[in-house]
């Protein structure tokens, strides 16, 4: 049988990480193929290779049984492959039609034939069931509609394979359903879709077949009728699933709460009040869908955004937190969501990153204690197992997991009593992920109260002594360790259940 697209033994290495190792997959005409795997499993790298963003180190790719060299995005487009990024690649300031024809505008001499772009845009927009004017500015559309504009753009470029990378991560339930209708319609017309997701529910609903990746390798394949939740999880996490928390704690009940939040209101959800507390030594997970207000809550706690009202108490004492400095002084630390933008300074040395937060405390009369800085950095590199050739290496040359360890190390030097982590294992490989989970446990055992936000169900289920579930700015549920299950968390996260 001949396939539309075939990937044979593709490998790709990045500094310090083997991102893909001997990956193979096939795609038939009009097939919806789901590619699933945990973060860092290699899904995005594979898709970037197919879309011509990166080139493989080894292996070959065939289209219509002919070996092709996808050396650039332009070549991929000519071959009929379109990649729709997780963060959409649309120009907000241009119209829908201008975006659809960006880079391949029909022209008369130097002039764009605007009328023609608008008429043909209308027809592809109709194909994806989107009823907006081709003259509307993309920035004025909702994310769901922008996603459909991307698909229309792909169709207009005669794409035969459309790759969608986590397309529903920012969509509402309603918008996701609209997207699924469009995908089914594409299948009818012989367009193939590669659908990347780690939302198992969606995969079950939309996919004809599933390819599972784990640690950059093929972990298995499931046909339509084999797609069950258990099968997927078994293939995705493999043996790692066996690893359980070494100890479970309800925190130190004898001592006061390490952190208590009373009637806290954030600017993004001003009508909801947040109430919860954390005991020393307790690990509390915060689950919820994207946009539920989890990151906003951490940012208010850490003084990055201002609270509209409410109280934050540490060890029973009310704190006035108006800046990260105040939060740090009160004994908090935040490992932020966007590691490269908020966590590390990429073009600075490992030692300088590690000392950034504690520099002031260690300084004598504003003068940097260089020797202390070096020995502290040495200690953190050893303690956290940060893989770096030396302390002067720029953080940008470290792998994601090691960068994250640098962010954590920066805070450990200050001995925080409350550690806030936002998606601490996002985009890092499985090994580093486990090390970070182990580190969280170790810190909790030392009495640090830990509040972590995660979008990965496995992590919430595995790491939490207790979990808070957020939905549209509220804490919709609180689950004790013994009550934790995927169904319980999803029930609260989608708003189906509330306490």
């Amino acid at each position: 049988m001949s396939y539309l697209l075939e990937v044979r033994s593709v490998s790709k290495r990045f500094p310090g990480v083997l991102a893909l190792e001997n990956i193979s997959l096939t795609l038939a005409r009009g097939e919806v193929l789901a590619v699933v795997g945990e973060n860092g499993a290699g899904k995005s790298t594979l898709m970037k290779i197919l879309a011509g963003v990166q080139e493989p180190d080894a292996g070959e790719i065939l289209i219509d049984d002919r070996v092709v060299e996808i050396s650039s995005v332009r070549v991929a487009q000519r071959l009929g492959i379109a990649l729709i990024h997780q963060e959409l690649n649309l120009a907000d300031n241009l119209s829908v039609a201008a975006n659809i024809f960006l880079g391949r505008e029909p022209r008369s001499g130097w002039f764009i034939r605007t009328g023609e772009t608008e008429t043909s845009s209308t027809s592809v927009l109709r194909q994806v069931g989107l009823d907006v004017s081709p003259r509307a500015l993309v920035g004025t559309l909702s994310l769901g509609k922008q996603q459909l504009v991307e698909i229309a753009k792909a169709l207009s470029a005669q794409a035969r394979v459309i790759i969608m990378d986590e397309p529903t991560s920012a969509l509402s339930q309603h918008e996701s359903e609209a997207l699924f209708r469009v995908i089914r319609d594409l299948r009818q017309r012989g367009v193939s879709v590669i659908y990347i997701s780690h939302r198992l529910r969606e995969v079950k609903e939309i996919a004809d077949r599933v390819v599972v990746l784990r640690d950059g390798r093929n972990a298995g394949e499931l046909s339509r009728d084999e797609i069950t939740h258990d099968n997927l999880v078994r293939l995705m996490v493999g043996r790692n699933f066996e690893i359980r928390r070494a100890r479970v704690s309800t925190g130190d009940q004898t001592r006061a709460t390490a952190l208590e939040v009373r009637s806290l209101r954030t600017a993004t959800h001003p009508h909801h009040e947040l109430n919860f507390s954390l005991r020393p030594g307790e690990i509390v997970g915060v689950a919820g869908l994207v946009g539920a207000g989890r990151t906003e809550m951490l940012e208010v706690l850490f003084g990055i955004e201002h609270a509209l009202g409410g109280e934050i108490l540490m060890d029973g004492v009310a704190q006035n937190i108006e800046s990260p400095r105040d939060a740090i002084r009160a004994g908090m630390a935040l490992v932020p969501e966007d590691r490269k933008q908020q966590g590390v300074i990429l073009e600075m040395a490992v030692s300088e990153n590690l000392s950034l937060a504690s520099l002031r405390r260690e300084a004598s009369a504003a003068f940097i204690n260089h020797r202390g800085e070096r020995s502290m950095a040495d200690e953190m590199v050893a303690k956290l197992g940060i893989k770096t050739p030396n302390l002067r290496q720029f953080v940008q040359y470290l792998s994601g997991g090691n960068q994250q360890k640098v962010v954590i190390g920066k805070w450990l030097a200050l001995r925080p009593r409350v550690l806030l982590l936002d998606e601490p294992t996002r985009g890092i490989d499985v090994g580093a992920k486990q090390e970070i989970c182990k580190l969280m446990e170790q810190l909790a055992a030392e009495g640090v109260a830990i509040l972590f936000v995660s979008s990965e169900m496995e992590e919430i289920l595995r790491m939490s002594d207790r979990a808070l579930v957020m939905h549209e700015g509220r804490i919709s549920g609180e689950l004790k360790r013994e009550e934790l299950s995927e169904d319980a968390v999803m029930g609260f996260a989608t708003g189906a259940r509330r306490t």
């Binding site: 990260p324 400095r325 740090i328 933008q341 300074i345 300088e352 950034l356 940097i368």
Partner: protein, 329 residues
């Protein structure tokens, strides 16, 4: 230190080439003059490098110099203020200017380019208004004060040095040394210098690490305008006659060019004080060479611009080679 090799080599090359073609380059008067001007321009280049390190820019330096210089002469000669009061007043004006820039950039979130471009226009206008656009001068009085700019300290144990007379270090050079040393200590040895470098690279991450980034940026703008004020005092004393419409014109561009030649990246987060001084020296020596070698002065800007551009291009190429080597490893 390795980064400074290129620019130091360029300085040495220009000096030696000029000296070979025209030995008068090395006479005491010419050397002193070149050193004096290098020192004066270094002050503003050091100042602007702090702002550039934060990722900002200051285009108003020349106008600040014009305002401070005109105001100083005006207060001393026409208003009859005492020397101390006049110096204090002009320094407060320049520090106030920096403070205002900092506030507008951090609290109002305006772009540094726009804020200081408006400053460039405003301070020049104010200088011309206050003095009624009349040239101001110190005349023959204020000899002691003018010594700050024109005087020189003899170097111990050297006796007479240089072709044709006693050689002494121009006083502005000593001011530059003090400012340069303090600046280098601030930048490399204190936590605030580290904070400036960090926020220049990634302001968000610096803020998330508990650094008061707004306060640090304010400090950078105050340092920059404050040093422009000091330079304004010395420039006017050195020239003796001050044109409110002309003093300091284009100087901000020399300062920025010196900083960039000396290794500051306009993207922020990078810079060394010694580099900035050497970068400024390259420009002043080039200027001097053009004059002393009797190259038509019309060429001045073109030559200086060309040299800076080539310097920056070579620097970028070297960086790329280094990056490739690192990647290949």
């Amino acid at each position: 230190m390795k980064k400074l090799l290129g620019i130091t080599g360029l300085l040495a090359f220009v000096c030696i080439a000029t000296a070979i073609k025209e030995p008068n380059f090395l006479n005491a008067y010419n050397l002193q003059n070149t050193i004096r001007w290098t020192a004066l321009f270094s002050l503003i280049a050091i100042g602007v490098s702090f702002v550039i390190i934060t990722g900002g820019i200051d285009l108003s330096i020349g106008s600040t110099i014009g305002l401070v210089g005109s105001l100083l002469a005006y207060l001393l000669t026409i208003k009859g203020w005492s020397i101390g009061a006049a110096l204090l007043a002009v320094m407060l004006v320049s520090l106030g200017i920096g403070f205002a820039h900092g506030l507008l950039v951090t609290k109002m979130r305006l772009q540094p380019f726009v804020v200081t471009l408006c400053g460039l226009l405003i301070y020049r206008g104010v200088a011309r208004y206050i003095t009624n656009d009349q040239s101001q001068g110190f005349g023959n009085s204020f000899e002691e004060l003018r010594w700050l700019a024109t005087g020189q300290a003899s170097i111990p144990f050297t006796g007479g040095l240089g072709a044709g007379g006693r050689f002494g270090l121009p006083f502005p050079f000593i001011v530059m040394l003090i400012v340069g040393i303090l600046g280098a200590i601030f930048l490399n040895r204190t936590i605030y210098g580290r904070y400036l470098l960090a926020l220049g690279r990634n302001e968000t991450a610096a803020r998330y690490s508990g650094i008061n980034t707004d306060a640090m940026k304010m400090i950078a703008y105050v340092i920059c305008s404050g040093l422009a004020g000091v330079a304004g005092i010395l420039f006017s004393l050195n020239l003796n006659s001050v044109q409110p419409s002309g003093l300091g014109e284009f100087y901000e561009l020399y300062a920025i060019a010196g900083a960039v030649l000396g290794g500051c990246s306009l993207r922020g987060g990078e810079g060394s004080i010694l580099g900035v001084i050497i970068g400024t020296a390259v420009m002043r020596v080039l200027y001097n060479s053009i004059n002393i070698l009797r190259i038509p002065t019309h060429w001045e800007f073109a030559i200086i611009g060309g040299v800076i551009l080539s310097g920056v291009i070579v620097d970028e190429l070297v960086k790329r080679v280094a990056a490739k080597r690192r990647a290949a490893r």
